[in-house]
C-alpha cells in the first residue's frame, strides 16, 4: 500500500488519480470470491483469522460470492482443526495446502504456496492478519502478484462498483483515507488483531475442501529453522484481550505519574497501557502501547487519562464498550468518541477514582450498603 505520506493539504494528489479509473482488465474479471488466510501457529489458529472470517463474510455477502478460508499447514490435527474452525466461523469452502514443509512458518514455502493458490483459483479479495507472519507473507505475495496491498486497515467495505474500499489512518493527522486497488486483482489488505469484532462461532459440518499440493521439497527451501523459543507466559501482556484497560498519556506529565495508572488498573484487576509518546519517552515499554502502531483493544471498559485522542490512538480503542476519558481540555478530540468525559486534572483525579472504586468494591462497604 501507500508508503507515501498522504498529504491531506493537497487531496487533489489522490483525487487526480481517482479519476483515472479504467475498466478492470479482462483477465482480472475471472477473479471471484473473498479469501481469508487462516494463520495457524503450532496447531493453534490465530484469533485474528476468525475476526477476518467475520468481516470477510460481510464482504462476500455484499458481493454475492463465496467466502473461503485458506489453510496452509502440515498433515495432522492442528490443520484439520483449522479447516473445521474456518467453517464454524463462516467460510463456505476451504482451500487447503497440506505439507510437512508447512509445519512452521517460513517465507519461502508459504509465499510460494499462497501465490500458487491465488494464481490457480483467482480470488478478488485476499485478507490477512497484520501479524509478524501475515505482514511477512502479504508483502511477498503482493509483490510477486504485482497487485495492491493496503496495510493495517481499520474498516473494509464494498462500494457501488464492487471494489474493495480499504480505510486506514493517514500519517500524523486526525484523518482517515480510503484506498482502492483499481485495476489489479486480488485486492489485498492486512488487518490488525482485534480491529474487527470476533464473530459468533456456529458449529457446522465441514463443507467443500479444495486441496492443492505445495509442489516443493525441503531442498528447495534455503532457510532452516534451528529452534523456536516460546515466550514465557509471564512476559505476555494481555492487553488486546483484557476486559478492562486503564491508560495514561502525555497529559500525566511525569514518569512518576505512570504509577497512578498502574494503581487504578490494579484496583480493577485490569491491564494498563499508554499512548505512543509515553513509550517514546521510555515511561512504559513498547508492548504497553495502545493504538495503530501498538495494540488494538476491545475491552468492556477503557479509561484514558491525559490522552488527547489522536486518530492513531482512536483506531486502537474504538471497539471498547465504554470509553471514559479524563482530560483537562474540554475540546480534546477524545471527547468526540468517549462515552463518559471528565474535564479535570487526571493527576489529581486518578487517586480519587482508585479510592472510589476500592470503596465501592470492598466487601466491608458492600455489606454495610446491603445492610
Amino acid at each position: 500500500m501507500t508508503d507515501k505520506p498522504v498529504t491531506p493539504a493537497a487531496p487533489a494528489a489522490g483525487g487526480s488519480r481517482a479519476g483515472m479509473k479504467k475498466e478492470l482488465p479482462e483477465h482480472f474479471k475471472a477473479y471471484k470470491g473473498v479469501w481469508v488466510f487462516v494463520e495457524v501457529e503450532r496447531g493453534v489458529v490465530h484469533p485474528v483469522s476468525f475476526e477476518l472470517l467475520g468481516e470477510g463474510r460481510k464482504l462476500a455477502d455484499q458481493l454475492g460470492v463465496d467466502l473461503a478460508g485458506v489453510v496452509l499447514g502440515p498433515p495432522g490435527e492442528g490443520t484439520k482443526h483449522a479447516v473445521a474452525e474456518s467453517f464454524a466461523y463462516g467460510a463456505d469452502l476451504v482451500y487447503l495446502m497440506e505439507d510437512a514443509l508447512l509445519t512452521d512458518y517460513r517465507n519461502e514455502p508459504f509465499s510460494k504456496g499462497l501465490t500458487d493458490l491465488v494464481n490457480t483459483y483467482k480470488p478478488e479479495i485476499l485478507l490477512l492478519g497484520a501479524t509478524t507472519l501475515g505482514r511477512d507473507l502479504a508483502g511477498s505475495v503482493a509483490t510477486t502478484l504485482l497487485t495492491g496491498l493496503t496495510a493495517d486497515c481499520t474498516e473494509l467495505a464494498v462500494d457501488a462498483d464492487k471494489s474493495l474500499a480499504a480505510t486506514r489512518p493517514t500519517f500524523g493527522g486526525s484523518l482517515l483515507c480510503t484506498i482502492y486497488t483499481l485495476n489489479f486483482r486480488p485486492q489485498m489488505a492486512t488487518i490488525r488483531p482485534r480491529v474487527m469484532k470476533m464473530p459468533a462461532r456456529v458449529e457446522k459440518p465441514v463443507g467443500r475442501v479444495v486441496s492443492h499440493p505445495l509442489a516443493m521439497v525441503e531442498d528447495d527451501i534455503v532457510t532452516k529453522i534451528l529452534a523456536f523459543v516460546a515466550d514465557r507466559e509471564t512476559n505476555k501482556v494481555n492487553l488486546a484481550y483484557a476486559d478492562i484497560v486503564v491508560a495514561g498519556g502525555l497529559g500525566l506529565g511525569a514518569v512518576e505519574n505512570m504509577q497512578l495508572v498502574k494503581n487504578l488498573a490494579k484496583a480493577l484487576g485490569a491491564e494498563y497501557g499508554c499512548s505512543r509518546p509515553i513509550v517514546q519517552k521510555g515511561w512504559m515499554p513498547a508492548e504497553r502501547q495502545i493504538g495503530q502502531t501498538g495494540k488494538t483493544i476491545r475491552p468492556r471498559l477503557y479509561i484514558a487519562a491525559g490522552i488527547s485522542g489522536a486518530i492513531q490512538h482512536r483506531v486502537g480503542v474504538e471497539g471498547a464498550d465504554l470509553i471514559v476519558a479524563i482530560n483537562t481540555d474540554k475540546n480534546a478530540p477524545i471527547f468526540d468518541f468517549a462515552h463518559v468525559g471528565l474535564v479535570t486534572d487526571a493527576v489529581r483525579f486518578l487517586p480519587a477514582l482508585t479510592e472510589a472504586f476500592s470503596r465501592r468494591l470492598s466487601p466491608h462497604n458492600r455489606d454495610k450498603l446491603a445492610g
Binding site: 500500500m1 501507500t2 508508503d3 498529504t7 493539504a9 494528489a13 489522490g14 483515472m20 479509473k21 512458518y105 517460513r106 517465507n107 509478524t132 505482514r135 511477512d136 502479504a138 508483502g139 503482493a142 509483490t143 510477486t144 495492491g148 496491498l149 500519517f171 500524523g172 493527522g173 482517515l176 483515507c177 486497488t181 489489479f184 532452516k224 529453522i225 534451528l226 529452534a227 523456536f228 523459543v229 515466550d231 509518546p277 517514546q280 468492556r300 482512536r314 471514559v324 474540554k330 471527547f335 468526540d336 468518541f337 462515552h339 463518559v340 468525559g341 471528565l342 474535564v343 479535570t344 483525579f349 480519587a352 479510592e355 472510589a356 472504586f357 470503596r359 465501592r360 468494591l361 466487601p363
Partner: protein, 283 residues
C-alpha cells in the same frame, strides 16, 4: 562484504500538529529525521562491518532534500550514500517504491559490488506498512528475514547467516544463505554517536545522486503514481459519535465526582459491577 541499508527521510511526527479546523497536517517548519526504525538497521549493519570488514552503503529514494538524511547516516559511520531522486517517483506506493529501490540496489551492485546483505527498518513511521522490505526481497530474489531481533552469527566464508526472528508467540532461530534482506526490529541496538572524523567526512562527502535513468530504470511506468496499484481516493475526518459523551465537568474534581463516575461506569456496562465484586473477593 558489502551491505546496503535502505533509509527514509520522514517528518518528525512528534512535531506534527494538525490544524484544528481544517484537520490537515501543518507541515511548515516540521523538521525531518531518518525514520527511527531505520536506525536499528543502520547500526546492525555498521556493527557487522566493524566486525567483518567491508563497506556500508546507505540508499534513500526521495526528494533532493533527502540528502540530509544520507549525510546524517554518513556521520554515524556509513561509507557511501546513494540518493535516488526523480520526479517519476512521486506518489509511489509500496509496490512502486520497492521496484525503484530494487533497481537501485541492482545498480549499486554493478557499480560498487554485489551486496551480501540488504537492510531495511521494520517499517516507517509515516507509511507504517512494513511492506517495502519484503517487496525488495522478492524483486531482488533475496532470502527474506523480517522482524530480526538479533544477528547471531555471520559466516562470510560459508555464506551463511544465523538470526533470531520475532514470530507470533516466540522467537525463531533461523539459518539461511547470503545474500539476504533483513528487516531489523526496533529496540535491538542503540545507534552509536558518530565520531568527529566521520562528521568531517560526511560534511565533505559526495552523495551519489541517481535519476531513474541513472539507476537503470527503463520503464518509468512502473514508478510513481503510474506504477502504483493502490489509489488513495478519499481523505476524511472521522465522524464524532452521534451520542456525544456524557460530560462531567468539575474543577477541581472531588470525592463526589469520583463516586459519580464509578456510578456512571457501573450504570453503563451491564454486569461489570458484579464481576468486579467477585474479583475483589478473590484478591
Amino acid at each position: 562484504m558489502h551491505i546496503v541499508v535502505c533509509i527514509k527521510q520522514v517528518p518528525d511526527s512528534a512535531q506534527i500538529r494538525v490544524h484544528p479546523v481544517t484537520n490537515t497536517i501543518m507541515r511548515q517548519g516540521v523538521p525531518t529525521i531518518i525514520n527511527p526504525y531505520d536506525l536499528f538497521a543502520l547500526e546492525a549493519a555498521l556493527r557487522l562491518r566493524d566486525e567483518h570488514g567491508g563497506t556500508v552503503t546507505v540508499l534513500t529514494m526521495g526528494p533532493p532534500m533527502a540528502e540530509d538524511s544520507l549525510r546524517k547516516a554518513l556521520t554515524f559511520g556509513a561509507d557511501r550514500a546513494v540518493l535516488l531522486t526523480d520526479r517519476f517517483f512521486a506518489g509511489s506506493d509500496t509496490l512502486a517504491t520497492s521496484f525503484a529501490l530494487a533497481q537501485a540496489i541492482a545498480k549499486i551492485g554493478e557499480t560498487f559490488g554485489t551486496p551480501d546483505i540488504v537492510f531495511t527498518g521494520k517499517q516507517t513511521i509515516d507509511g507504517d506498512t512494513a511492506q517495502v522490505g519484503p517487496g525488495i526481497a522478492k524483486r531482488q530474489k533475496l532470502l527474506q528475514l523480517t522482524y530480526v531481533s538479533k544477528i547471531a552469527e555471520l559466516d562470510l566464508a560459508a555464506r551463511r547467516i544465523k538470526v533470531e526472528r520475532r514470530a507470533e508467540g516466540g522467537v525463531q532461530v533461523l539459518e539461511t544463505r547470503l545474500p539476504v534482506l533483513i528487516t531489523m526490529l526496533e529496540g535491538t541496538n542503540e545507534m552509536r554517536r558518530g565520531t568527529m572524523v566521520d562528521a568531517l567526512r560526511a560534511a565533505r562527502a559526495e552523495i551519489v545522486t541517481w535519476s531513474a535513468k541513472d539507476a537503470g530504470i527503463e520503464d518509468v511506468l512502473k514508478c510513481g503514481l503510474r506504477g502504483s496499484p493502490t489509489v488513495v481516493k478519499r481523505v476524511f475526518a472521522p465522524a464524532a459519535r452521534s451520542d456525544k459523551a456524557q460530560m462531567i465537568e468539575i474543577q477541581p474534581a472531588t470525592r463526589d465526582t469520583a463516586d459519580a463516575l464509578v456510578a456512571a461506569i457501573f450504570g453503563g456496562i451491564a454486569g461489570i459491577e458484579g464481576d468486579l465484586v467477585e474479583l475483589h473477593q478473590t484478591l
